[in-house]
């Protein structure tokens, strides 16, 4: 774009347009930084969870819950011996 051939009004409009685009880019950058932080936080929490003791995990389950629980014991074994 050859600014030397533009009128003053056109230059002012172009400047306003660029300013708006810069503001939009800044907002996007902030959103990206927040997403990175959230991901890092989640990764840190996951890493921490992997190191918790059974007692600590149970304590977290108490607080946050795990939803419905279904327990399916396997069948018992009988060993019959014939003569």
């Amino acid at each position: 774009m050859d600014y030397s051939k533009m009128s003053v009004d056109e230059l002012i409009n172009e400047s306003i347009k660029l300013k708006r685009e810069i503001a939009e880019l800044k907002d996007r950058r902030v959103a990206i930084k927040e997403a990175i932080k959230r991901n890092n936080d989640e990764a840190a929490i996951r890493a921490k969870l992997g190191k918790l003791s059974e007692g600590e995990r149970n304590a977290l389950r108490e607080v946050y819950g795990l939803g419905d629980v279904v327990v399916t014991p396997g069948p018992a074994r009988l060993n019959l011996k014939g003569g």
């Binding site: 795990l66 327990v71 014991p73």
Partner: protein, 144 residues
């Protein structure tokens, strides 16, 4: 979390053979026990088993009534008609073991709810279902 298999107490085999347990006629219940319970293969009477889950948070002392059914001819399966379900209410239900016993009688079998072993917890508002295995509690068949 994977549950353990049902395990007979030592006296259960004789109790089945001498008719002490009439599996599809007698009254049976399933109860939940804490990690501190003395429930083991040496257990005999239900009354002798310690540290049942207390009767709070949606659990009733003595556990839930169950009906055992027998099906099949050459391969006979003992199954639970309707899976017991407890809904935690006012707090969590946390247990280490479940056992099947005859009311006012002996323990038939028991299992770890988490074979790790570990406790299993249903938090307030959630259910704990003892889902019967596809092969029931146990199956009696010809030796392979």
């Amino acid at each position: 979390m994977a549950a353990g298999a049902w395990q007979f107490v030592d006296g259960a085999r004789a109790d089945m053979l001498d008719g002490t347990f009439d599996l599809d006629s007698d009254t049976f219940k399933m109860a939940l026990f804490l990690s501190t319970s003395n429930l083991s293969t040496s257990s005999t009477t239900f009354a002798g088993v310690t540290n049942e889950h207390s009767g709070v948070n949606g659990y009733t002392s003595g556990g839930a009534s169950i009906t055992l059914s027998i099906s099949g001819t050459t391969t006979v399966t003992v199954d639970i008609d309707t899976d017991p379900v407890w809904t935690a209410d006012g707090g969590s239900i946390t247990a280490r073991f479940a056992c099947i016993y005859e009311v006012a009688g002996n323990v038939l079998c028991f299992c770890l709810l988490d074979s790790a072993p570990g406790d299993v917890t249903a938090t307030d508002g959630n259910t704990l279902t003892m889902q019967t295995h596809a092969n029931g509690v146990f199956t009696l068949a010809d030796a392979a």
